[in-house]
Amino acid sequence: MQTTHEMVVNLGPQHPSTHGVMKLEVVMDGEYIVDCKPVIGQLHRGMEKMAEGMLYGQFIPITDRLDYLSPACNNLSYCLAVEKLLGIEAPERGKYIRVIIAEMQRIANHLVALGSWGLDLGAWTILLYTFRDREMLLDLFEMFCGQRMTLNCFRVGGTTYDLPDGFVEKAREFLEVIPSRINDYEALLTKNPIWMTRLRDVGVVSAEDALAYGLTGPNLRASGVKWDLRKVYPYEVYDRMQFDVPVGSRGDCLDRYYVRIQEMRQSCRIVQQALDQLPPGDIMVDMPTIALPNKEEFPNNFPEVVRHFHLLVQGYAPPEGEVYLGYENPKGELGFYLVSDGSGYPYRLKIRSPSFINMQIFPKIMRGAMLADVIAILASFDPVLGEIDR
């Protein structure tokens, strides 16, 4: 029986719904997908090679460009890894500020993920609502550190800025508004029959496959595995926060959507508690080998000037050895593997990016799906190409 010949179609780097410059070489037979091969590398900037030529402190603004939808979490993950290498910890207030900003960044990230997902499936308005709510968060970030997207607000051993005075009130104001907005999204999407049939049992990932293929973050939890690094390794102050980890049951696109919506609500709870328990105190660890001296008493206090220059030219002197630390980035487990040879420059830095590893399962779950499903599955994994290509 003569079958219609298969069509090789490039869901190419330039395509409205590939969340960046990812190319999916899709072999299609009519509307059905026979095989699909992701091709990446368009946005490869060679960050790991750059890191070897930079001091530890200089690399922080580069981590903003990893997962450009959640820069604060990337900074935090890198700073935590270096702090684990140096064996130090940020002071109390520094920790709280970091948790507040990181959880706000998680909400902002999920808002973008949700908005672009709705847009990919044709629901235009949900994109505008989510971006309008994200605008409030971006204003808070701009108040805090001066930039909306590329924050570069954390340093090894603490944060550079303290919370500006109007910040806490504005954050509380945001926390009152956001639950009703999330209810709007749920009203628009969650029980909408078109949305449900579009996502129910599409791109199903069983728990074993999820673990075998190295899925992490909301995609892993949607398959029923209760694994959240904030609960397993509670660094910073996550152990003092009460929040529960939403877990899906079937591992299909609808569960991934459900997990992300609930995670937004949990992050609101965390920020609320963190704002309530915010202690006074300094924001940078006061170890002379790490923290920069403050600049007011510079002209006359000469040893401080020498230490300032020494720190900025030689950098920190971490002990020899290697360390790996994974952080619960909104997209999954973002980990940094640092090999140090004692000098101020890292000998080798490996970035374990969640979207890169999550993408391995695409060929397996997209076989037999339809073209419209490919877009839905791609959006449900919420990949960001900055992080995939590094």
């Binding site: 509307e31 499936l121 044709g122 308005t125 579009r198």
Partner: protein, 348 residues
């Protein structure tokens, strides 16, 4: 008085004008046919002018409605509240250089936008704008409307095929499959109304709704007609033919400049025709308490257009196999049941 007659008895007013022209023709000895010809040409010009103006207004309305639903302004820069935006669009599209594409089957590539637009405009011949104003008061007006809309779906597919591009081929196939399978419930729902109002002629249907609008007598048919006409127009949750996120731009991918404008206007003419059909069938055409009938008709049409736009900007897109399953397993059985029940009620 003359103005009153224009608004409230448009039929007599039109005949009066025709009478004047006839006397004038007899006086200078011209044949009757020429007068009929001129009359036809004038009516055609008025109809086309109405369609073009209203479609322009529709494009502007769509942007404003989409804007305000999404809590933003919509066009504001061209004129107060972006009034001149449609003109700006038209000029831009006019001067855009149409691409000469390799491997494109030129004959079909050029004809399909034109025929799609013609198919969409044919529907207006049978729509009763107000008591006397129908271009062709046919007995089978309803059937003529569906014949015309069926025609334009063929040329959407032809356009998709001839632009020699994978995406538009997929878009064209989807469009054909969708419009064909949704034509059946569309006609069945309309026949439900024809049963209740007795007769297929649209003027008859409107007059039969003097007492109670059909939407009350045939609520289920109204919903089905709305859903099926959404699919027929490739709009709303059923806009699979030019699904930007999946097929780049569906069957419109390779079209640019004036050809794209033709398709674009065709789509909006379809939208207006769908809204007009819905009002004539279910909302009692030009029936209305004190306003002149023509105003009532325009208000109802634009309320329906707003509803179509409102639905489009709310829902995600449906998948092609769900679309088919939704039609054959849900919409069509309901339409048949509705037909059966109306038949029973009428007989008893």
């Amino acid at each position: 008085m003359w103005l009153y007659q224009f608004f409230y008895q448009p039929g007599e007013w039109a005949r009066g004008i025709y009478q004047v022209m006839e006397n004038w023709a007899v006086r200078i000895g011209m044949g009757i046919q020429w007068i009929q010809l001129i009359d036809m040409i004038i009516v055609a010009i008025i109809l086309i002018a109405f369609i073009f103006l209203d479609v322009m207004f529709l494009t502007w309305l769509e942007r404003k409605v989409a804007g305000h639903i999404q809590v933003r302004h919509g066009p504001m820069r061209t004129g107060p509240h972006g009034i001149i935006q449609p003109v700006a669009d038209a000029i831009k599209l006019l001067f855009k250089e149409p691409m000469a594409l390799p491997g494109v089957d030129n004959l079909i590539y050029l004809i399909s936008p034109l025929m799609m637009f013609v198919g969409a405009m044919l529907i207006y011949i049978v729509i009763p704008f107000s008591p006397g104003w129908v271009v062709a008061p046919m007995d089978y007006g309803l059937l003529f409307a569906f014949a015309a809309s069926g025609l334009s779906s063929f040329f959407v597919m032809a356009g998709g095929w001839s632009s020699n591009n994978k995406w538009s081929l997929l878009g064209g196939m989807r469009a054909a499959a969708m419009t064909l399978s949704y034509e059946v419930p569309l006609i069945l729902a309309a026949i439900g109304v024809a049963l209740v109002s007795g007769g297929l002629s649209l003027v008859g249907i409107v007059e039969s709704q003097a007492g109670m609008w059909n939407i009350i007598r045939q609520p289920l048919a109204a919903v089905l007609f709305l859903v099926a006409s959404l699919a027929e127009m490739n709009r709303g949750p059923f806009d699979l033919a030019e699904a930007e996120q999946e097929l780049v731009a569906g069957y419109l991918t390779e079209y640019s400049g004036m050809r794209f404008a033709m398709y674009y206007l065709g789509e909006y003419t379809h939208l207006l025709a769908g809204a007009a059909l819905f009002t004539t069938l279910f909302l009692g055409g030009w029936q209305g308490p004190l306003l002149p009938p023509i105003l009532w008709f325009l208000i109802k049409i634009h309320v329906m257009v707003f509803v179509y736009m409102w639905i489009r900007w709310t829902y995600p897109r449906i998948r092609i196999d769900h679309l088919m399953a939704f039609n054959w397993k849900f919409v069509l059985p309901l339409a048949l049941i509705n037909l059966g029940v109306t038949g029973l009620v009428l007989v008893l």
